[in-house]
């Protein structure tokens, strides 16, 4: 979790530094105000709302169809012999928390475009743009993690199918 936080801070700092590096006499602010502010606001507002409704569905589906599978529970029980600290729903709980932060970050990014983004300064525009880049990266990480879980689910289904066929 610490590494993830560090990565997010790094993405934000790097994008902020990169945008500020090219800032010259309000060029960034004008580009941001003319071309980016409105699309970023509507985009992140929609994304936040969409993620909010999708979050529960993803978690419930993963719980019912993957984490509650008897074969998965058996696997966790076997691996607990190697690491007693292993938990059944630990990864799912953390994924849920991460998705909540994704929603929160999307909404904060959207709100920032129409509040902080109105300040006529390159720095304010850079902050808004850097936060947009960070939020997109965080959502990409969340999407990747969901993909890993779904792949694992399909693998378990495939294994069960092979076992059934053998029986």
């Amino acid at each position: 979790m610490r590494l993830l936080k560090l990565i997010i801070i790094l993405i934000f700092s790097a994008s902020l530094w990169a945008i500020l590096y090219f800032a010259n006499n309000h060029t960034i602010f004008h580009f941001y105000a003319d071309k980016m502010r409105t699309p970023l606001f509507t985009g992140f507002l929609t994304l936040g709302g969409f993620l909010l409704s999708l979050k529960t569905f993803i978690l419930v589906k993963l719980k019912e169809d993957l984490y509650d599978l008897p074969s998965y529970k058996k696997r966790v029980l076997e691996r607990k012999k190697l690491n007693p600290n292993l938990t059944l729903y630990g990864p799912l709980t953390r994924l849920g928390t991460f998705l909540i932060y994704c929603v929160l970050l999307s909404l904060i990014t959207a709100v920032l475009q129409f509040s902080f983004g109105f300040l006529e300064s390159d720095f304010a525009a850079s902050i808004c743009l850097a936060l947009s880049v960070t939020t997109i990266s965080v959502i990409f990480i969340a999407w990747w993690q969901i993909r890993v879980s779904i792949n694992e689910w399909f693998l378990i289904l495939k294994e069960s199918e092979t076992e059934d066929a053998e029986q």
């Binding site: 938990t87 953390r94 993690q145």
Partner: protein, 310 residues
């Protein structure tokens, strides 16, 4: 005298699986190779077997306690009688990990694995020869191409406890490298994704120079001391070297648990009954094989034998 159950792991090379190798061992069951006989068969989802080692000696010494001392006298064996060592073993067909029964003076687990490495190389040569002849081409290049498909040999390592590991390290003639294993046989919980099919392993490899100029006896002792000092802080380690008999030795340390059992030699030997005319059935019916399968079903041992690693 104690009979101990030790663990081992076989890692086959390209093109040959553990089951294919065990099938080959089953086909050569009962055949003698340099005074050693191996027999393997399948039982309860495991490959089970015995390694018999026939000793050359025709006489042995018997020590008799007498009032105030003892006397030693030679005992002759009949012409048709030999002294034999027996070592039962079981192997998980998917992971290549298994248990080996060992007692003092019987072939060490390293000798057992080396014996099987030789059989493995024989099998590999046979497969390559058959494929080459089957292709109908007398071309040496074709043979080389087939050989590439079966590159490598049987690798083996011996998971052991801290005490055994220290003893083995101190007895080594040469140390090639040591690999620290931080998460071997350990499942680290992932942050967001479920428990995967395979357990991961993170390793750090330290290779020592082969040159005799650098690897002086003093330097070797320093390495041994350093490794012995490090052991309590390691979760696992894999060490490759040369044992006192000159064989390549690979030892694996497990610090987390001691899953292996111990028995009294007298209790075990009373249960051994092997009939060469019905060798495979004798192994299947052996009391000690049942005992080893029972040990393999203990949750901790089962986890070690069956966990898949990449």
């Amino acid at each position: 005298m104690k009979v101990r159950i030790l663990g081992f792991e076989w890692i086959t090379s390209k093109g040959i699986t553990v089951s294919e190798f065990c099938n080959y061992l089953e086909s050569i069951s009962g055949r003698e190779f340099s005074k050693r006989v191996i027999a393997v068969t399948k039982k309860d989802g495991f490959w089970v077997g015995i390694l018999l080692s026939i000793k050359d000696m025709k006489a042995y010494c018997e020590m008799r306690d007498e009032k105030g001392g003892f006397s030693i006298s030679p005992k002759e064996l009949d012409r048709s009688t030999h002294i034999a060592d027996f070592n039962f073993f079981i192997i998980h067909p998917e992971t290549g990990r298994g248990l080996y029964q060992h007692y003092h003076n019987s072939p060490a687990i390293n000798t057992f694995c080396f014996f099987n490495k030789q059989r493995y190389d024989e099998l590999k040569s046979k497969i390559i020869e058959n494929e080459w002849r089957g292709s109908g081409s007398g071309d040496e290049e074709k043979k080389l191409a087939i050989m590439k498909n079966y590159e490598g040999s049987l690798r083996y390592s011996l998971p052991m406890t801290e005490k055994d590991f220290q003893q083995c390290v101190s007895g080594l003639k040469k140390i090639n490298h040591i690999v620290y294993e931080y998460s071997y046989f350990t499942e680290q919980e992932r942050l967001f994704s479920p428990v995967g099919t395979y357990a991961k392993r993170m390793t750090h490899k330290v290779v020592f120079p082969k040159s005799k100029k650098v690897l002086t006896p003093q330097f070797l002792n320093d390495i041994k001391d350093a490794i012995t000092e490090m052991i309590p802080n390691l979760k696992g380690a894999r060490l490759k070297g040369v044992d006192p008999e000159g064989h390549e030795a690979v030892y694996k340390l497990i610090n987390d648990y001691d899953p292996f059992a111990e028995f009294d030699y007298e209790d075990v030997i009373r249960t051994v009954k092997i009939d060469s005319t019905n060798l495979l059935k004798s192994i299947c019916d052996a009391y000690f094989i049942d005992k080893m399968i029972e040990i393999s079903r203990q949750p901790e041992v089962k986890a070690i034998l069956s966990v898949k690693t990449k």
